[in-house]
């Protein structure tokens, strides 16, 4: 089992009482799984992904990745995990504005020490970015930026790709294309994919669908 999340709890301080976002969430993914995570806006999808990526601590529960509990790791350990095994695709793309497309695409792979195995021309072609390699993120459209982000995520050959509303900032057609690309690339590299989305239509393309509501996860 690649990822085994068990009994996650997370609450944020609210104005009067704590708001419980995750209330005993458990899920598991095997290598190559493509899972859609649906839920209303603010239902805690992002928080769940952040905890899995080691970006945020949890109040209770465990996240076993390849058998190791992320929650027990130190900062360096979690950073190494993200560097080497987990990639994230954000709603706002979060490219590095000071680097051009080529540099952004291979950046994560280089951090992970796998730049040598990246076939950049093929990757760029598959992303439809072959003509944009020297451009900077600010010169790209939203869809193009997100394709760079997806390329960056898969180029590092991660075991798990976490995508947080990857099409949330895109129009419907572009969103669909990006989504298809993400799925195709994940399947091609054999990475497990956990996509948070509120679109049931997009979720339909996944192997499994989970729904997060009032802190509970239902399949």
């Amino acid at each position: 089992m690649l990822l085994d999340v068990h009994g996650l709890r997370k609450a944020f301080p609210g104005s009067e009482r704590q708001i419980t976002v995750l209330d005993g969430v458990s899920l598991s993914l095997d290598a190559g799984d493509v899972v859609a995570l649906t839920g209303e806006s603010g239902s805690g999808k992002s928080t769940l992904l952040h905890i899995i990526a080691g970006l945020e601590p949890t109040d209770d529960g465990s996240v076993l990745f390849d058998g190791e509990d992320i929650c027990l790791m130190d900062d360096g350990g979690r950073a190494a995990l993200r560097r080497n095994s987990i990639s994230i695709v954000f709603q706002q793309f979060n490219l590095i504005p000071s680097l051009n497309v080529r540099q952004n695409l291979v950046f994560h792979a280089r951090l992970a020490g796998r730049a040598a195995s990246v076939d950049l021309p093929a990757l760029a072609t598959s992303l439809g970015l072959a003509d944009h390699l020297e451009k900077f993120p600010e010169d790209l459209s939203g869809g193009e930026q997100q394709r760079v982000a997806i390329g960056r995520a898969v180029a590092s050959e991660p075991k798990l790709v976490l995508a947080d509303e990857p099409t949330g900032n895109l129009d419907e057609d572009t969103g669909q294309a990006v989504y298809d690309l993400l799925l195709a690339l994940a399947r091609r590299t054999g990475a497990a994919l956990l996509i948070a989305t509120h679109s049931m239509r997009l979720a339909g393309a996944a192997d499994r669908r989970m729904h997060l509501s009032h802190g509970k996860l239902t399949e």
């Binding site: 970006l55 900062d75 995990l81 706002q92 979060n94 490219l95 000071s98 680097l99 951090l111």
Partner: protein, 800 residues
Amino acid sequence: MTGPVLAALLSHWRRRPFQLATLLLGLSLATALWSGVQAINAEARKSYAEAAGILGGGGLSELVRTDGGMIPVKTFATLRRAGWLVSPLVDGWLSADGGRVRILGMDPFTVPQDTSIAATVEPSLYPELVGKNGVLLASPATAARLPDLEDRLRAIEDLAPNIVLADITSAQELLDIAGFSRMFLAPVQPLLRPDLASLAPELAIKPPATANDLGRLTDSFHLNLTAFGLLSFAVGLAIVHGSVGLAFEQRRPVLRTLRALGVSARRIVLCLVFELLTLALVGGALGIIVGYVMAAALLPDVAATLRGLYGATVNNALTLSPLWWLGGVGIACIGTAAAAANGLWRIARMPPLSPARPRAWIMASGHAMRWQAAGAAVCLAAAICAVTFGGGLVSGFVLVGGFLAAAALFLPTVLSSLIAVAARWSSGPIGQWFWADTRQQLPGLSLALMALLLALAANVGVGTMVASFRATFSGWLDQRLVSDLYVTVEDEADIPAFMAFLEDKSDAVLPIWHVDAEVMGAPAEIYGVVDHPVYAANWPLLSALPDTWNRIAAGRGALVNEQLARREGLSLEDRLPLPGGWTTAVVGIYSDYGNPLGQVVLPIETLTRHYPDVDRSDFGIVVPEQNSEALMAALTEEFGLPADRITDQGAVKEFSQSIFERTFAVTGALNVLTLAVAGVAILTNLLTLASMRLPQLAPVWALGLTRTTLGRLEFTRALVLAALTFTLALPVGLVLAWMLLAIINVEAFGWRLPMHLFPLDWARLGALSLGAAGLAGIWPAYRLARRPPADLARVFSHER
């Protein structure tokens, strides 16, 4: 409606007191240094004007002997009896505690009413001024420096410092001279007067002397101070610019909400202007107070410098006009406006629902780089024009100013290129990201880095000049002070006995006889030297004939100091007109650092023949085997010379060097202050950027760099930028030093100094600037490293 808007805007500062403090600190520092320097300059200029008013008659023309000699009393009477309304003056120097004092003898009976003298001296004092033992007028501070004349001195508060005003007869008696130095020409003359040429062909009308004469002499000093003031002001503004920009950016959501709630952009801008004005007033007021304290603390040193170096006199106490206070507040407001204009402009044009994009704020500054490079080219062109087509002190300063401005404006472009090169050479993703990111941060930091460059270059430049001066000066002192003891004989009648006493006890007794006189229209000193090999061996000549010392030994020719030679364009073999209407040839030019006056050295027989009234009481003694202490004791015990009439070489040297050190104490203090302000500027700019950079750093963190690594990189970035800036500042500073030594000093002082290099000083300065940048960078880096992950994660989940 304005009330709630203001409340919403101002609430920002309550939540960020540190930012408010930074802003006020920047404003106060900028205002303080600027107005402090202005206060010192204003005080000095006022003193010059007072002195020039007294000495120069406040705009009256004067009659002087064309040969620079004294005007006989008979000539004065002849002129008066022919209808020329002239008033005699006797001008000279008295020795006083802490340096000499100008004495001006005037004639209360004829002094024109339009003169400052007439305005300064109450007519009720006239009866006491004239006659035997007439009173002498001086400011209380000056009076205190003349204890020997205590009985005759009368303190006058309003009198310019370092001047004793007396009746002509008292002045003649104290200076032991006859005749008059010059004469005021009353502005209104009677109907019938014969030509001047028919009455006194040896006299000429000299146009009014002004404060400019002294001002020109001291210009370099004041421009130096002003330059530091401006520099510090610019550096302070870098701080303000950073804080204001951040505050505007951080309040974008508030502004957007206000706009959404129906507040017009105009009203928001007005509220922000009001807010800035308040801050400027508070910061300006604080700055003025600090500036006043600073000026008051530095002024005694400045006054001592100006007295020691130029003979110019400045009050030790500050008396500031309301204009100065207003000026300080004004400059604070102008500075704030300049620093905030950009931000206000953006807010005025902001569409109601534009997202906050702190990154864009920095990015936009990048386009300024091209303009800055163009500006740099213009500045450089102006500097080159100034030195090519201009002349004089002002164009010298245009050159320096243009060069420094160009260097500062070029800095971002040069840094950017250097970083690009570094990026190309760097391998590894982190290195690549580091350089790319550093380059992109440059626009946001460029103002602070320019400030640092200027502060460092000024430090290197002025430091090199001062150290070169010091090295040259002490070497020169060692050579020039050939005698081991310096002695003043009380009574000229004792001289033969004195010489006899020293006959077998000394290697040489060298008369140091001199007269103060006017040479080629300006005050000068004329000295005499005996024929003794010690001079030829020790006296450094800048230019000499092969037989210079032989000619002097043969009683022919004169040596002049560098100042006089430069001022009058004298070179070897030129004729030198001397007071008394005779001329001689220039046979040598010697360096004479630290002396504002022209100096002429004649063979002693020539001196005594032309100027029989020469002061003959001073001697230098060359003591065999450095046995000066024994000789000193012998002189006091056996010959009976009071101890206070004997000075040994060491004391003379020490005194000269103490004057020198005080001269540059102020420069040193300002140098350190400027550097400190530049350090603060970097700190505040880094802090500003740090809080905007989270969205940049979060993705890198998400990709697997730890917060500690990021913090370390941020710290390294500050060091790298400081190191690069220092590296660039070094050549700029050296060129500056060369300009100061070879152009400004020659114009201002009349002497040119060789340039020495002091790499150890640079190393120290480099370490200091790295230290400053490190100190400035460590706090933002530490904060980043300790940032809760949730803060970083929030970047991903929250809309920016």
